[in-house]
Assembly symmetry: C2
Homo-oligomer: 298 residues x 2
């Protein structure tokens, strides 16, 4: 087992390394379009916990993938995640004015710039993956592009956000909330773990274990997010809380109660760890991640 | 030379073939996220002139590329172009309510759906390119992904749209308008021509000729668009016109006058055709495209 301190050091270290790659691939402001690059950098740097990139690097580490490769793939994933945060925060979407402890992009700049910055970050994510710096094997890079495009698109993250918006006028039950979350947040988390296996050219069986882990971890992570929304402190979370309750949104907390949701998150985290058996001690970082996912305060 | 009737038949035929590929790659509406797929299909099918996909297929034809390949790459390009139209039409961007003769996506659905549909179309474009159906050679598919991501991103189309938005508060001169247009509309037109050469694994020299052609064609196309905005009929164009004048935007027409702009468009179209010399009769379709670009009514 890895203790909390060691885990948090690894999270910080990998987060900083991903931040460096992001800084190097993001455009430098210049010319009359400078504001676009400024907004892209503002949204992406210094960033949040970088939990998705961390999962990708930790998964890739299990297969001995070079950090040079995994950090670039992780940066691409973070670019896609960041674009989705910018667009989700827009007034016509979730209407959030605070993100990662700072004004959301459409507040700091304006709505048009926020939309464009998100659009350009998405394109940059795929550009980074396609570049030979990311992996020497073209088939690996293509598999990453295809999997990330699928995870981000209408059958993944964007589809989940559509369900979330449509759900504002109706009350979802647990199976529907679960599907919503599997798409909206689960798809990129699944990509993070799968990408490690793709980069490491791991056998199918191991890839399946990682996907099962990601599936349970993603839901545990989301329930923890719902608990944070209901119980957390805005100053610590760096974003607006209590929004779900005000909007009357069905969440795991509204459907199961605080205690029920907490038990469910713990159950899922245990279940996630169960899929890592065959990795022996190589799975320790992912085990610690499951623990972190349900005990974080931001 | 190809006469107008033959050219227009080819345009229609390739447009229909691209439309079929688009219909097959676009998601089918279903589940609580159905509206997302509906909006994606609404925006993309039946579509406009499909001039960018046409350029791609015509360029690829010159190198004997199978239509199976070039139509898929063309469909990916059209997905990216369509996403940009949806986002550009939003109230905080160019605020257009009419597109391709029908209500814009944010009018027909709502703003959130329009943003998501654009986002998902962009992801789908890269997913289509990464798929082995598009080309058997992985390096070719990766080159397409990288080039399209670059063309769509902050150093291409999105950067051009940022300049356009920033220019609302100042008057640009001809060099600035030219750079704006090279990014905003020129980048995808250049990709269309370059992709033909990439798919056909054409020598560098031929790729350069095609890029020079695309450069001049793109500007000619844009000047024709400005002339259309100043002189055309909305019922024929299928979109709102006279917007540039009302907004006080600097365009080729406001800077050069109607006659000056028309002469400049003709000059650029001639110049574009000049780069096709070495292709002999294989360049006839692209020659006819240059003629079409400056004489179209929609």
């Amino acid at each position: 087992m890895i203790d909390t301190e060691t885990f948090e050091q690894a999270l910080e270290e990998i987060g900083a390394a991903v931040g460096e790659v992001l800084g190097s691939v993001l455009p430098t402001p210049g010319g009359p379009e400078a504001q676009l690059a400024e907004a892209m950098r503002y949204a992406t740097l210094p960033g949040g916990k970088r939990i998705r990139p961390f999962l990708l690097v930790a998964s890739a580490d299990m297969f001995g993938v070079s950090r040079r490769s995994s950090l670039r793939a992780a940066a691409a994933l973070e670019l896609i995640h960041t674009y989705s945060l910018i667009h989700d925060d827009l007034p016509c979407m979730d209407d959030d004015d605070l993100r990662r402890g700072r004004p959301a992009v459409h507040i700091q700049f304006d709505e048009a710039t926020a939309i464009l910055a998100g659009d350009a970050l998405q394109a940059l994510g795929f550009e980074v993956l396609s570049d030979e710096e990311t992996h020497s094997n073209p088939e690996v890079r293509l598999a990453l592009v295809g999997a990330l495009a699928y995870a981000a698109g209408s059958r993944g993250m964007a589809g989940g956000q559509m369900i979330d918006l449509a759900a504002e006028n109706e009350t979802l039950a647990i199976p529907e909330v679960t599907r919503l979350q599997q798409l909206k947040t689960g798809a990129l988390i699944a990509f993070a773990c799968e990408a490690g296996a793709v980069l490491g050219r791991a056998p199918d069986r191991q890839r399946q274990y990682l996907l099962s882990y990601a599936h349970d971890l993603g839901l545990a992570f989301q329930i923890a997010d719902d608990l944070l929304d209901a119980e957390g402190k805005e100053s610590v979370a760096g974003k607006r809380l209590r929004k779900d309750g005000v909007a009357g949104k069905a969440t795991y907390v509204s459907l199961m109660g605080i205690d029920g949701a907490r038990r469910q998150a713990e159950l899922l985290a245990d279940q996630a760890v169960g899929h890592l058996k065959s990795f022996a001690e190589k799975g320790d970082v992912l085990r610690a991640t499951a623990n972190f996912a349900i005990n974080r305060v931001s």
